[in-house]
């Protein structure tokens, strides 16, 4: 995994997402989800390309049910963009890189 990607969990989530100077895109994922595997390399690329402008965080839903439930995640992969600690945008399902960037453009 890219060094630019941060692993989040129930304990560190709030602190991390609030303290971040740049928007944080959180990837709700699990080991057993095929489409999550498909978008993982796309997120790696985005993390490298947008370094300093956007932080990518990964949250394993199996291990972190509190945050998962709090944001009513009901499908994975779900990507939620947090700005100043608040959820601003939500993308459900795996999407091509171009489409992801387009849908996030307004917040970056």
């Amino acid at each position: 995994m890219s060094e630019k990607i941060v692993t989040l969990d129930d304990a560190t989530f709030d602190e991390h997402v609030k303290a971040s100077d740049v928007p944080v895109l959180v990837d709700f994922w699990a080991e057993w989800c095929g489409p999550c595997k498909v978008i993982a390399p796309v997120l790696e690329e985005i993390a490298e390309e947008q370094a300093g402008k956007l932080q990518i965080g990964k949250l394993n839903i199996d291990d972190n049910l509190d945050v998962t439930r709090r944001y009513d995640v009901m499908s994975i992969p779900t990507l939620i963009l947090f700005k100043d600690g608040e959820a601003k945008a939500r993308l459900v399902g795996a999407k091509p890189k171009g489409q992801l960037l387009q849908e996030l453009a307004a917040y970056l």
């Binding site: 699990a30 057993w32 989800c33 095929g34 489409p35 999550c36 595997k37 498909v38 978008i39 390399p41 796309v42 839903i61 199996d62 009513d72 995640v73 009901m74 499908s75 994975i76 992969p77 779900t78 459900v92 399902g93 795996a94 999407k95 091509p96 890189k97």
Partner: protein, 320 residues
Amino acid sequence: MPEYRTLLIAGSGPAGLTAAVYAARAQLEPLVVEGEPSSTSDQPGGQLMLTTDVENYPGFPEGIMGPELITAMRAQAARFGAELVTAKVSRFDLGSGPPFGVWMGDPGSPEPTYLAEAIIVATGARSLMLGVPGEDRLLGYGVSTCATCDGFFFRNQEIAVVGGGDSALEEALFLTRFASKVVVVHRRDQLRASRIMRDRAGANPTIEFLWNAQVTEVVGDGKVSGIKVRDTVTGAQSELAVNAMFVAIGHEPNTGVLVGQVELRDNGYVKTFGGTRTSVEGVFACGDVQDDYYRQAVTSAGSGCMAAIDAERWLEARGA
């Protein structure tokens, strides 16, 4: 300037990846245009990426996870020199050539991205949706196309699975790990599924069947709270309270970019002649994009092997 390739393979399910293994071993240096991420089966790795245990792929007596099988096939293709790109073909020009023009990205661009001497089409099939009100709006909020991805979120809740074939029962059985009740909603009074799946589903106490039922709407404020169904015999309307609806009503081939380029059958699948040849010389098709009958991982892989051999011999005969 377009890049020239001897062989381009579109699609990366078992058909495309098996073709890539064979073609790479035959020194054709194939380029695999693997598709783009999505949560339907139209994505890199294809339909197996949305499954869990594959129990009938020979060589795995204990079964293997679909995504694991695909990962192994990718590694095998890469080992022999196949190159994979995460992109989707946006346009083919099969009218002139070989070499044939293949576009990625903007299909209106004057020059193709690649020129390929031979092409193997293995773009597969994707799941059909119902197309009823509420379905789009609640996608990701209880409406799902991927039981293996989303079943987890409906622990101890009630779930509807729409469909009557093997994939519907497979999803229903998988979902019993989580759900308190799974209702299979089918528009006929008997299942299309195979005997073994019917027996398994019938014996599972968590699964119920709703026969002659057509879904007319998905309801819910923010998340799914139920589905409206119409009895196809009596016409009576009713509402079934469920927290989620999984759709498994069949497939359609990913042949959008092939319309007007190769001959398609009435149902949209690519027409093949004596093996994997299509109506265009130098263009071959394998896997679910040309098969609406067997539709198995192993038959896809088998036809992928055939396509690679057909392409290799065709290229050899032309001295390419």
